[in-house]
Each structure stands twice: as structure tokens, then as C-alpha cells.
Symmetry: D3
Subunit: 129 residues, 6 copies
């Protein structure tokens, strides 16, 4: 259970509802994710964060599927169930199957292991790396 009240969408002020409407439209979802609802306790923070989501996840040099894969990989390493679930669902809606998800996590497994091994033995970077 959240440590703060999760405001309902019906409670939103006009300022907050304007952001919520954009979020529902952008994600093609009938509801606003809890992540953004809790941010509504601080409307300026909600607004600035949503602007940044649009910039970072919107069209750019990397395609959206790659970005969603990085989102899941990062959230796995940081240990965030919420984001792992939400962005795996996004990948599935793009047609990504179980085989790809396991292959993605195999890369996370491989490097998370090597990352700690290298720290534990204090191995210096290779010349020219």
C-alpha cells in the first residue's frame, strides 16, 4: 500500500487534469498510472517529469522498442517491480515474446555478474578500452 494517498483522477485540478489527459492519450490507456497520480501531490513536479518523459521516450536516435528494453533492464537492476511489470507489458504490446524477454535478461544476468566480479578483484580497464 502506498505511503501517500493516491489521488483519484476525478479529484484532479484543471492544471493536473491537463497533464493526465495527455498521459492517457500518449499511452493509449483509459487510466493514468499510479506513478503519475502520486506525483499530483506536487503539480509542478508532475508537469516537469511528464515533459521529460516525452523528451526521453519520444522520437529520437533510438527506437521506442530499444528504449523500452533498456527501461526493463534498468528496472531489473534497480529492483523495481512496478517498472518491470509496466514496461514488460509495453514490450508485449509491441509483439515481444517470452524468448526475447529471456534473452534480454540473459544480457542483464551476464553483465550484472561481471560488473561485481571486476569490482571485487579491482581489475583495471584494458589499455585502449
Amino acid at each position: 500500500m502506498s505511503t501517500v494517498d493516491i489521488p483519484s483522477e476525478a479529484q484532479a485540478t484543471d492544471e493536473v487534469e491537463a497533464v493526465f489527459a495527455e498521459i492517457r492519450r500518449a499511452f493509449g490507456m483509459p487510466f493514468v498510472p499510479n506513478l503519475f497520480k502520486v506525483m499530483a501531490h506536487n503539480p509542478a513536479y508532475l508537469k516537469a517529469s511528464w515533459e521529460r518523459v516525452k523528451v526521453v521516450m519520444g522520437p529520437g536516435l533510438l527506437d521506442r522498442k530499444t528504449k523500452e528494453m533498456i527501461a526493463v533492464a534498468v528496472s531489473a537492476v534497480n529492483g523495481c517491480d512496478y517498472c518491470v511489470l509496466a514496461h514488460t507489458a509495453a514490450l508485449k504490446s509491441m509483439g515481444v515474446g517470452d524468448g526475447e524477454l529471456v534473452e534480454l535478461m540473459a544480457v542483464v544476468d551476464l553483465f550484472s555478474g561481471f560488473n561485481k566480479l571486476l569490482e571485487g578483484l579491482q581489475v583495471p580497464p584494458d589499455i585502449g578500452a
Copy 2:
């Protein structure tokens, strides 16, 4: 400085040299990375780890560039300079430029922040996520 001796390639036994030769060939590099050289203190571990690298990073459902991007993202979150440097170099050798690297890290930034916010407020996953 490494906490264990980093064996030189010239010291390698035949068993270890067979793996080293494969590594140099696979990476198209004239030397074996320190990561694999320290593993040579335990040849069975070196061999099993290299076999797994080939499986995980070799041809599959995800392309190599995506895998290298995930390698850099994971290593950034885990805080491993060695792997960040090595796999950023790999991405650059594939033609990835500064703009793409910054966009990649923007995704890492975005989700690393949200991951901790969600934990700190104990926000439950959305219904249907």
C-alpha cells in the same frame, strides 16, 4: 591495481590458451581483456564463462547493437567503470555516436529515478499492468 595477479597471455597453459585464442578471434583484438585474464586462475570457470558469453552475446532474437546498449546501461546502474568503458568502445566501433550514447543514458537516468521514487512511496502496480 587488481587484488590478484593478472596472468600474462604468455603464461597460459594449453587449456587456457585455447580459450584465449577464441576470445582474441571473436573480439578481433590483438589482446585478451583483463576480465578473462584474471579468470585464468580458475580455468574451468574461465571456460564456462566464455561459453556463456558466446551464447548470450552471439546471434539470437536481439541484435548485437541492442545487446551492447543493454550491457552499457546495466553496467552504468551497477557502477562498473570497466564494463562501461569496454562496451561503449564496442558501440563506438559500430558507429554509435555521442548523441545516441546520451539518449541511451537519458533512459537510464529517467528510470533509475522513477525506480527509487516508486520504492520510496511504495506505489502499487497498476491494475492490469
Copy 3:
């Protein structure tokens, strides 16, 4: 479910009960938190840990509310539900509301993101920092 037995307060030896009595008094609570109950499997560790809690969380150069905020921020980054819940409850008992909690977590969000971005691009500290 805990991997070790959680001893009941009624089972406590005199040595352990002396610490438990202090804990109940210090926190103004009718029960001893599970954190300290599991430590009772090693009474010397319980005692030394409680002494340190008193020193670190007791009167000093920082006020208690600031310390509780740091406790929640640290526990969010480390991913500890138990401590996030316990120390958010402590903040609420001091009158901290949802707006402040979200603002606290906005700082955690901001820096957790930047921390990983800087690692991922290996950005050197600024001269004079």
C-alpha cells in the same frame, strides 16, 4: 516470512529484556519492532546495535526530522520496504504530510537518475568541485 524464528518478547532473557524495555520506552511503542527481535538471537549484537541507534538517531548536530527523512531516502535507494514503512510512519507522527513526502522522493528521484547518468558517461567531477 522471516527465514529465522522471530522470538517473542515473553521469551526474552533478562539481558535481552533490558534492551527491549529501553526500545519500547525510546520509541513510545507498546511492542518491540521485528528488526530488534531477530537480533535477539545474538544478544551482544542486539545490544551493540541498539547503543549505536541511540548515538546516531539521538540528539546531535542534525534534528530528528532530518534524520528520519534521510532514513527514508536511504531505504528507498537500498530498496527496503520495512524501513521505508517504519520511518515514513515516524515522519507522519511528526506531522509530515503527503506533499512533503512526495517532495522528499522527488529529490531521491532526481539524484538517483543523475547518479547513474554520470556513471554511464564517465563524467569527471568539475574543477574546484
Copy 4:
């Protein structure tokens, strides 16, 4: 050394220079921190990130000194030398001394330890927590 080119302030386009000018003014510093300079590879990301810094670190329900302390605590747990150095310098410029910094880190020490102990023994939250 950064894995991407750190653009000089002199190279900034008008769009980027407008943000840079605000940053120098806001921090009262004659130069732009490397964190923001690397972001200039993606001007929209720089702009959205700076807007969010202003919202999160600007006036609100928590005072600036508390926010800077949380910044240092979070960066310590995430292992970011850059942010630890930059925000400790900020605290010192507000008159925070070595005693307070050690007391701050004592809280980080205490909870980082307990966080992992609780995970390792799978201790459930207390009833009513």
C-alpha cells in the same frame, strides 16, 4: 575521462546557451557543471532536465539545506563520486561543517546496514507500521 565529448560553453547554440546562462546564474558559478554540458548533446533533454532541477531543488515544503543533505545521502548510496563531491561542496558553502557531514553519513551507515539485514532475514514489517 568522459565517454562522450564534453562540449565547451563557447560551442553552445543559442538554445543551449540560454539554459547555460540560467544555470550559471542559479548556482552563482562562473562555469556550467559537466553534468549539464554533456546533456547539451541532446538540447531538449538538457532543457527538460534543467526545468525539473528548478522545480525539485527550488523553494517548496523542504528547505534547501535538507534537500542538499538528501542529495549527498542518495549519491553516497548510489555510489556517485561526482554528486557526492558537488553537493558536499554546496553544503559547505552553506556553513555545514565536518561534524554535521559525519553525522549525516552515520545515518546513511546505520540504515544501509539495517536495510540489508532485513532483506537477508526476510523480516516482515511490524503490524501497524
Copy 5:
């Protein structure tokens, strides 16, 4: 609930079943842990990972009990409930009691705290360390 389908043992191809049979035998368990079942979506990854488990956890310079303790300690720091539960069960089957488990976690507590304190104050290693 897992984000990917967990294949039943009955569904295993001959290639996968050969690994599964070895796993059941090695662990002396009538079933294959979910960790290995999800890997079966990528049989080459399952096989290479299992080979590595045998090398790393099999006979060597450290005894099995020490390795299981390290497994639990590492999993506590990384925040993995699954591995904490599985390898604590392994320790208990070797006769390790609650007192030893608490002492193990006391070491994890002590160093997790000091690790973050040292980062937060940027304390340099001692000469000769």
C-alpha cells in the same frame, strides 16, 4: 507472477530434459527450480548457465557451506528474495541454525553500512592496504 510463461517439466524437449534431470539429481530435489525452468525458453542459455553453476558451486578451494553463505549474503545485498529463500533453505539443510544466520547477516549489516559511509565521505584507502 512471472512476466514470462514458466514451462512445465513435462513440456521439456529432450535437450532441456537432459539438463533438468541433472539439476534434480544434483540438488536431490523432485522438481526443477523456477530459475532454471524460465531459462528453458533459451535452451543454449540454460545449458551454459547450468554448466557454470556446476563449476562455481562444485568442489574447489572453498567448501560448499561457505559458498552458500556467500550466495545468501550477495543476494541480500542485491535484494533478491528468491535466492535468499532458496540458499537459506540450503544452509538449513546443512544444519545451519538461526544463530549462525543472524551472525552472517550481522556481517552483511556491518559492511553495507561502512561501504556507504566511506563513499559518502570519499575516504581514501589506507597506505599499504
Copy 6:
């Protein structure tokens, strides 16, 4: 460079010197590690922390070598160079060689990888685990 002044041993008050003398004796070293010297900014914290070190690292149910191995493993996962260096040196002084250190880190590698894989696929614990 440390963000706080590292007090010299010669500056120590009688209260601090009493702890320092015990530390030098306990470690059989002619100097006090920087970890404890920075704590001297807060003598009560130094004293309580040292008492806890004695309890946790002193004689108990686990032997000292096992505890030092756990210290290195935990510090590797948490990314603390200082503690990795100090406690690897302690292990070497007990006769632990490069082969054992690599085997220790192979366990850290194996589980750090699996820990993140399991989180990334949200794999539930096995029945009976």
C-alpha cells in the same frame, strides 16, 4: 580526497585515543585505518561503531576467515574499493591465495547475475523453498 578532514592520531583526545589504541592492538597494525579516523569527528559514534565491530567480527559461530570473505563479497556488491582492498589484504595475511579469491568472486558473479535475472522476469520462489 576525503570530503572531511582526516584527523591525525596525534590530535586525538584521550577518549578517542583509548579507542584508537584498542584498534591498533586488535588489528596488529601500527596505524588506525582512515575509516575510524574520520569517525573521530563524532567520538560517541566512533566508540559505538568500534564496539559493534568487536562483537560482529570477534569470536562467534562463524570463523574469522569466513567473515572476512563475506566482508569482501558484500563490499564488491556494494561497490566499495576501500573495503575490498582492506579485507582482501586481511584474507591474504591469513594465507588466502589468488585462486581462492577468484573462486570467491565467481560465486559473487554467479549470484549477482541470477539475482537480477529473477527480478527482471519476476520469477516466484519455488514451493517449499
